[in-house]
Amino acid sequence: VEVLSVAMDAQGAERARPYVDKARATFVTVVDEENMLGQLYGFRAIPNGFLIDEQGVVRYKKLGGFDVRKAETSSVVQRWAAGSDLSESAVGHDTQSGSELSESNALLRQGLELYRKGDVAEAIALWRKGVELDPANYILRKQVWAVENPDKFYSGDIDYIWQKEQTEKGL
C-alpha cells in the first residue's frame, strides 16, 4: 500500500512541510493550493481518506476524521491492505454538489492569484465573498483564518477553541 498525501494549503508547500517533517513521513506529499480535489472529489472540509485499488477504483472513503497518523485510521488501512473487505465502505457525509461550492472555489482561485502577487488584503476580500456564498466550504474558510491569524495556527499548537469561536461568530 502506498500513501499519497495531499496538503490542501493555499499558502503552499512551506506551510505543509513542517508537518511532513515532524511525522517523518516516508510517503509523497503533494500540495493542492487551488482546492482542485475539493471540487473534483466533492468535499468541503478535511481530513479525508479514499482507499483506491490497483485498478484505480475507490473502495472506501471517509470524509472527516481520517488521519494516517491515527491508530483507528491505520487499522482500517491495514485490514484493507491485507485483503479484507471493509464493513463500512463510506463514512461521513457527502458534500452537496451545488453552484455555490463551485463559485466559492472560483473565488478561492481568483483570490489566490492576488495573494501570490502580494495583494493579501484584496485576496482576503475575495475569499470572504466565497465564504459568504458557501459558509460550509471550510477548505476556504479555514484557509482565510490561517492567512489572517497565523499566530493561531503556526506558533505552537493549533488553537481549536479560537476556531470554534470563529465558527460561532460566522467568520
Binding site: 500540495v31 473534483l40 463510506a90
Partner: protein
C-alpha cells in the same frame, strides 16, 4: 463521474462532483513538496491511500 483529466490546477469542468465507492478515482496532477509533478495514475497497479489534510 467523467474521466476528464485535470492538470496544472486548471479545472476542465466547473461542475462539483461526488466520488462514490465503486467508481473510478478521478485522476489529477499536483506538485510534490519538492515541486515534482505527481499524478494519481502514477500509482496504478498499487493500492493507494489518498489522504487530504492541511496545515490549518
Amino acid at each position: 463521474m467523467d474521466k476528464t483529466f485535470v492538470t496544472g490546477g486548471i479545472m476542465a469542468t466547473r461542475t462539483s462532483m461526488v466520488v462514490n465507492v465503486g467508481e473510478e478515482a478521478p485522476d489529477f496532477a499536483l506538485p510534490s513538496l519538492d515541486g515534482n509533478p505527481i499524478k494519481l495514475s502514477d500509482y496504478r497497479g498499487k493500492k493507494v491511500v489518498l489522504f487530504m489534510w492541511a496545515s490549518w
